[in-house]
């Protein structure tokens, strides 16, 4: 007669032996590390305070992470060199100790830092997309500084050297124009064009006429590219398209977003986005009073910049704090709300929600 203890021991041994024979037939798995595939259409970077999350907007799958400093304003890229560029700021002991500001260069394949250039410890350290700008020829990276006076650090990303710091009192925002030039918005209601030579040194500085009043109706410090220049928008909702021709700054007539005076553009981060070839402008809107420009909006209004007419009002389930439009033929509208929402940018249909830490701004690549 078997005792209960003997039976239990027998069964356990039997199962263990059976299990061993099963595992003996499987080769052990090996750990490996992925490398980045060739970027697909509608890939984008969701820049957060935790780094740059790379997503495929079509599948919604995360592809990898760029580890960035918490003070990084934005990240940009250059396809021809297969590199990402980010301005970063570090303190030696985390929250105190010696400060070091750098431009970090990351490769496409491993998303790893491959080089860095030390720059003056003056970067503004704000999550603003246009506090980082790569000139249109891909040679010079401009980093916006505040110390607290405004300036721009110029870095040659090909030779990996800091070129120099351009003093730009009263002006911020860096918008690449021409081959190697930068356009800025200034507190006196003008634009400023800074032209660089091949080495990255300033050769010419031009100021536009006054076209807005910073007290009455300021231009947002968030802007979006148009086909030939940039779209600027005021707190009240007037859009100006600006561009340059040589040394001339051209400011097209402003056009009002709407007749509903109680609706205003507003968002904590990037309030305006556009599709350059299609001439579509997307603006985060909310119903509110004057000086509510940082209230996240519960609608996105879409405008045809050619006809200067609104073509759609898109209602959102959660207020939006930042937007971006990918530039492909089948573009996606990327919206930071509760996670990141992906919409078809032409039909405005919601396609998916991607879980991610709070996105501050986006980079299409």
């Amino acid at each position: 007669m078997f005792s209960r203890e003997f039976f239990t021991t027998y069964v356990t041994l039997f199962l263990l032996l059976q299990g061993s024979s099963v595992f003996a037939q499987l080769p052990p798995e090996e750990m490996s590390i992925e490398t980045m595939p060739t970027p697909g259409a509608n890939w984008f970077i969701s820049k957060t305070s935790n780094g740059g999350y790379i997503f495929d907007a079509v599948s919604g799958q995360m592809q990898g992470l760029l580890s960035l400093s918490r003070y990084t304003p934005a990240v940009t890229h250059l396809d021809s060199r297969k590199e990402f560029y980010a301005a970063e700021s570090y303190l030696a002991r985390g929250v105190h100790g010696e400060r070091t500001d750098i431009v970090a260069i990351y490769d496409f394949e491993n998303l790893s830092p491959v080089d860095e250039v030390i720059i003056p410890n003056h970067m503004a350290r704000l999550a603003v997309r246009t506090h980082l700008a790569l000139t249109n020829n891909g040679r010079h990276l401009a980093v916006l500084n505040m110390n607290p006076n405004h300036s721009i650090s110029i870095v040659d990303v090909e030779d990996r050297v800091f070129v120099y710091e351009i003093s730009t009192p009263g002006c911020a925002v860096t918008m690449p124009v021409g081959e190697n030039d930068l356009l800025q918005v200034c507190g006196d209601g003008t634009l400023q064009l800074i032209q660089l030579d091949a080495s990255g040194y300033e050769t010419k500085r031009v100021r536009s006429k006054v076209f807005f009043d910073v007290i009455e109706d300021p231009i947002f410090d968030r802007v979006s590219r148009s086909k030939e220049g940039w779209f600027l928008i005021t707190h009240a909702g007037n859009i100006f398209e600006v561009r340059t021709e040589g040394e001339e700054i051209i400011i097209e007539d402003g056009w009002g977003l709407h007749s509903e005076t109680d609706w205003r553009p507003g968002a904590r981060n990037e309030v305006i986005a556009s599709h350059e070839d299609l001439g579509l402008v997307y603006v985060i809107m909310h119903e509110g009073a004057v000086d509510t420009h940082h209230v996240n909006g519960n609608e996105i209004w879409i405008y045809d910049a050619t006809t200067k007419t609104r073509i759609h009002r898109m209602k959102l389930d959660s207020p939006a704090g930042s937007i971006m439009v990918t530039q492909e033929d089948e573009p996606k509208l990327i919206v930071a709300a509760q996670g990141v929402d992906v919409y078809n940018a032409l039909t405005f249909a919601h396609e998916r929600t991607i879980e991610t830490p709070e996105a501050q701004n986006f980079e299409d690549f």
Partner: protein, 177 residues
């Protein structure tokens, strides 16, 4: 940053303006012209109120109402950041071990008790981890970063040994009217 330093900075600004104006007059005006005008200025001076800063500090205190740990408190109308009142400090003092930034942004807030508009200085306390309690983001009179004296988006830890942001205080500089 304490009140004395704010006052010192205000006095320094006034001194600088006065010096520059005097030098400008000295260069541009003849002595006779200057004497003829100075009489008018002296006579007219009594019609002008004292500077707002001087008038403010002539008062001993400002009567206030509300919860200083709430973003709705009247001093915070143009505040952006973490309230130092929730982090071991007060609305005029930084928490222990942090550094007061001497460079600030300003706003104008109406005190509901006396109905007066006050010029507010928002000073960041720096050198520690962000407190992350009682977050507050009000934008009355806020302007973009290219107009940085009125921009609450900016990290104002300038002129401090350590530049990490901890929290923000709100100091009355004077009445705005």
């Amino acid at each position: 940053m304490n009140i004395e330093k704010v006052v010192d900075r205000a006095y320094y600004w006034v001194d600088e303006k006065a010096k520059r104006t005097s030098l400008l007059f000295a260069r541009k005006l003849s002595r006779r012209h200057f004497l003829s005008r100075i009489g008018v200025m002296v006579a007219g001076a009594t019609a002008f109120p004292l500077l707002p800063v001087s008038r403010s500090f002539a008062q001993n205190s400002v009567s206030e109402i509300g919860d200083p740990q709430s973003c709705d408190y009247w001093r915070y109308c143009a505040m952006s950041g973490t309230l130092c009142t929730c982090c071991g400090g007060t609305y005029t003092s930084c928490p222990p071990g942090s550094e007061a930034s001497p460079i600030t942004w300003v706003g104008t807030c109406r005190n509901p008790v006396d109905g007066l508009d006050y010029l507010m200085s928002y000073n960041d306390c720096c050198g520690k981890s962000v407190c992350s309690r009682c977050g507050c983001h009000n934008t009355e009179g806020d302007r973009p970063v290219y107009f940085n004296s009125n921009s609450n988006t900016v990290l104002w830890c300038f002129g401090t040994e350590n530049t990490s942001y901890h929290c923000t205080v709100s100091i009355i500089l004077g009445t705005a009217d």
